[in-house]
Every structure is written in C-alpha cells, then in structure tokens.
Symmetry: none
Subunit: 356 residues, 2 copies
C-alpha cells in the first residue's frame, strides 16, 4: 500500500501519520517510500536514496551547513500500534511516538516550510537505528558516501524532552566468565560450582556506585548492569562455567579504551571479553555552533544519558547535539507517548534558528 504524507498538516497530525506507517527496524521500506515521495515534491531540495535512508539537501551556497537527522525505524510493537489520541488531542500514544516520529515530523515540516534557510541544510532520514550498528543507516552513509554528511554542525532530533541534550554516554558490553570444575551433584564436593562462584561477580555489581561526573557543566550518570547470565550443564552436574554479560554505560570523559580498561580492572579476578564498545561524545556546548544553537533554542541543556548517533557525528569531527520533542524516559516502553505542544514548539524554535 502506498502512503501519502501531507507535509502541510500540523506537526502533531503529521506525527500520527508517520506512526501509523509500520516501520520496525528492517521494515522501513513503505515509510521510506512515503518520505521520499513527499521530499521529491519539494523543488528546493536535492534528494538521494541509499537503501531505506534518504538525504535531502538545500544547495544555496550558504557559508555554513547543518545536518538535521532522525531515524525512521521503531522498536517492535508492544500492543501499541496504531497511534491513539486522547480526547483533548494533547497526548498521542503509540510505538515510536517519542522515539522518534515526532522528531521526524519536525524535520519534514522544516523541509517543507523553510525554503530559504540562513544555513544550508542536509536532512537525513535513516534506517535501522534501533538494532545492530552494522545495519545503522547513518553508519552505512558515513562509510559509503561521507561527503553527503559533511557539515559544520548537526542536530539529532532524538527525544530530548524539548531541551538540548549534550553529548552522549558510551556503552560497552562485556562477558565475564566464572569457572569451576564439573562433578556429579551427588558428590558435589568433588567439583567446584561455577554458578556459586559467579555470585562474587554479582556482588561487585551490587556494590558498585555510579560515577556522576560533570562535563562542560552537564551531569552524566553512569550505569553498570548484568544484562544476561547463563550457566549449567545438566540437572545433575555441578556446572563448570557461568557467564555474566554486563552493560557499562560510561560518561564521555572516558574514552572507549579507558572504559574497557576500567571493566577489565573491576573484574580482574575473571576472564573478561569485550563484546562491543561504542564511545560517547562530550557535550561541546561551551563554544562554537553547538553553544550558539543552545542559546538560540533556549532552555537549560542537560546531559544525554543514552548512546545516540551524536557519537557518530563526533567521530566524523562534526559537533552535534540532541534536540527533539519526544520524551526519552519512556522510549521503548509499551506506554510510549508524545505530547502535541512540544512538537509545535520544537518546529517553531528550529524555524526561528534557521531563518533568523
């Protein structure tokens, strides 16, 4: 079925229309088609497509260029599709409302209504942000056509509660293995129980106190959690191995290497295998285009706790911030919603910034 998006609808209505085109990661095709058709009707934009990722650029020869980026995909539905308005049309509930169809709606409204921005704008709508980094549309674009992303500054319209969220925390996962020796459970004292031994790993996790460093004036908040545990051979065997997988969310004053070293040191008594590691990004709100942007849109900036593609822009050497109308605290929950007013407010603030 072909969907038609009306970019002249108000942001909240456009958000609902975007939510109602299913687009779980890997299945963004129909939504990407609809966005592409809408963008190609706008004569001031040059549109290119890469998989289910769309890039639309103004080419006005402005001295500065900014990227406005957002992802098209959502996490799997949880009995929260399609979207539903409450009676007063104040709150829209549904999968992806906050994360991040509301932000995508703001991007599309700006693309349609700001024909002659004061900076050249590159709109990026990308696929597969919610899954494996190897499928991430922004990653694929940065690898295959990095020139399309070149810019002086980038805004990621991830949910940030309508305020600027600076930088982002890094994330790594590590597997920590407790070992033992197998034995028949009828004579368990002949062996060494690896699951019992893993309690010492959990003790470290239970006793761990999070760092909350302040970086460029923003307070981060780390986290260290077991996200999986597995062990066991058979119902009558003392197990010889138990693996605890931990997820460390680290503030951006630590590099990926430092975070890995920290985890290896914390669990020095066991073999530690780093499964993946994505460093964070410092907020960079003290100077340059990020500081100017924060001043222009107003509000008190805060730290971004989740990992976002801001870190990817940081790797490309492009200052970037998170700024979007969604509510980050309820992303990925079954009760995810967004409010109408912040969608309109974000569009207004960004329009003012692009036309001042």
């Amino acid at each position: 079925m072909d969907h038609d998006l009306d970019l002249h609808a108000e942001g909240p209505a456009l958000t609902a229309a975007l939510v109602d085109i299913p687009s779980v990661s890997g299945e963004e095709g129909p939504l990407a088609d609809a966005v592409e058709r809408a963008l190609r009707r706008l004569p001031h934009l040059r549109v290119t497509r890469h998989g289910h990722t769309l890039v639309a650029r103004t080419e006005l020869g402005r001295p500065q260029r900014v990227v406005l980026a957002g992802h098209l995909d959502t996490v799997p539905h949880a009995a929260n599709f399609p979207s539903q308005w409450d009676e007063e049309r104040v709150r829209l509930t549904g999968v992806g409302t906050s994360d991040m169809k509301a932000g995508v709606a703001v991007q599309l409204r700006l693309a349609a209504t700001v024909g002659a921005p004061n900076r050249d704008v590159t709109y990026v709508f990308y696929e597969c942000e919610e899954v494996d980094v190897a499928r991430n549309g922004l990653f694929l674009l940065s690898r295959d056509a990095p020139e399309l992303l070149s810019a002086d500054f980038a805004v990621l319209l991830e949910p940030s509660g309508g305020v600027v969220e600076g930088g982002c925390q890094g994330t790594l996962r590590a597997a920590i293995t407790a070992s033992g020796a197998r034995a028949h459970t009828a004579r368990s004292w002949m062996g060494k129980n690896a699951i019992h031994a893993a309690a010492a790993i959990l003790d470290i996790l239970r006793a761990w106190e999070p760092r909350k460093p302040v970086i460029d004036g923003l307070e981060y908040h780390e986290g260290l959690n077991a996200v999986a545990i597995s062990g066991g051979v058979a119902g009558n065997v003392v197990p010889d191995e138990c693996v605890v997988t931990v997820n460390y969310r680290f503030a951006p004053d630590r590099s990926g290497e430092q975070a890995q070293a920290y985890i290896r040191d914390l669990f020095a008594a066991w073999p530690v295998e780093i499964l993946d590691c994505a460093p964070g990004a410092k907020p960079g709100l003290t100077a340059g285009p990020a500081a100017a942007f924060a001043k222009a849109v107003g509000g008190a900036p805060r730290a971004k706790l989740g990992w976002t593609d801001v870190a990817r822009f940081a790797e490309l050497g492009i200052p970037a911030v998170n700024y979007g109308p969604g509510i980050p605290e309820i992303a990925h929950t079954a009760g995810e919603y967004v409010e109408a007013a912040p969608i309109v407010a974000a569009e207004r603030a960004l329009t003012a910034w692009l036309t001042a």
Copy 2:
C-alpha cells in the same frame, strides 16, 4: 552405522567398545540396536524391546528371579570421546566409562557366559537414566510392563567402586525466581535488576552446610547446588527475571515431601517451583536377599550417595542394591575413567554368585 558387539571379548575390551558407540541420553538408538543384536544371538534368553530399552530373561523355572539392570545412556560429551586406554591398558578414560558402560559390559558378559544360572535372571538395559525421570526407560517399563520387572531381588550395576552400596539418596530440582523491573540500561535506576537480586539466592547456596546422617550404619552426605541459571532480555535492558535451578540431594531419612518443604523454607523469600522429586531408598542391608548378596560378594558396604533406580525398585517392593565396577566419585567429570581389574573382578564375583 551398524555396530557389532563381541560378547566373547574380555569385559574391559567390551567396555571400550560400548563407550565408543555414542549414546548421550535420547540418542541411545544405535547402542540399543547393537545390544539387541548381540542378545538375540543368545538362545537361552527371551528378548523384548521397549523404545531403546531391552529386557532379556532366562526362563528356567528357578525358585528365585533376580534383575541385573543398567542404563545405556551417558551425560553429554566433554572432549572425552572416544575412549582411550593408557599405555598399560590399566585405565580406560572416556565419557560413560564408569557411569556405566563398565557395568553394562559386565551384564552382557554374564548374559553371554552364564547359560544356566542358579536363579532366573532378568537383564535390563535401559535408556535415559541421566535425564528427566519421565523419559527414564526403567520408569517407562515399570509403568507399561511391570510384569517384566517382577523379581525377588535386584542388582543395579551403577558405579559403586566394586563394593555394595546400600540404598540411595533422593534428588529434587527446584526453580527459584528472582524478580525485578525492566528499564533501559541508560537509565538503569528506573528499574530493578533481577540478576543482581539473584545473588542473594546464590549467597544461601554458598553458605549452606551439608547434613551427614548415619542410617542402618551407613553415612550419607547431602548436597545442594545451582545446576542452572538464566536471565536477560536484551543487551540494553535491565532484566526483570532471573531463574536459579537448584538440585538438592537428600539422605533417605527424609521423604520427598520433607525435602520439598525444606527447600521451600530455605528459599522462602522467593517463589519456588519444584521441577521434579525422586525420593531415595534406605539401605536395607540388615536382612533378606540384600544382606545375603552383600555377604556373597564381600567387602564393606557403604552408603550410595547418588540417586539410582534402586529407589524405583524399592517403590516396586523389590529389595535392591548398587554393585558395579565403575568409580562413582568421577562420574560426570571430563576426566571420567574406569580401571580394567574391577571390571573383571565384578564379573567374576557375580558369576560365582549366579553359579554357586
């Protein structure tokens, strides 16, 4: 591939041949086929098959009948397959050597060489002893064809170090569930980590002290172990559930009901689900055919710590003991082995008892 067993080979060589036919629980088919072919070549036995369980009976009209029983399956391989002799052919290493291909070899040798025993003999070779009781071949036989098991006495050739082991301990498995609340790991303090919470379950296991009651003169030794642990939703989610499966080995002075109550009480802070429970059997070596058998084969009887199907015979009202050439202490270990001499000795002792 069809395997051919030579029952005229010595017990140790036959043991190696039996080990080298893979027969992890559920995959006993090829071994059962080989045993069946070998048994059907013996004209003095009436052979019937039930799944992968074989029953071979003499029908000589003797006033007494004894069952000689052993299981065909092994625990999963642990880089200990196929079998290996040491240089002097004294020690055979490999999965199932002690538990209990050596005992099965003795059964098969007796079946082939003792054509006119002084008691009628029922040889039972059964499947799935190492797993779920519902799949246990002896259990299935006792349910579907109990007349095939009727006897005055039973010897289970489980590994007992070449001495009579009396009774057996009971065994139960229970699942204990720690709960929590999901959250995104970037804001883990919004949730409650169930894996971290499960550490308190492991603490109880680590602190537990085993009972060692003396019953009919034999000392038992209890055990309580985590045999499995699992928890985790996704790499970026604080998990809301962690399940610890424990195995309690209890002395035969506790009934199954008492053992269950003990575990529910010990882990009263969590939901406890009893997965299975097989009560033990008291030694009963103070009188009757068990006492006579112990006297005939010699040695100092000791307590059987593992659960064995002796308990099933006890339920059927048939006195039974464990007596086999394997070494119970190393059953289910990666280094499991058996020695050649006790295999020959057990065959000799049982032959003497059956032909005296």
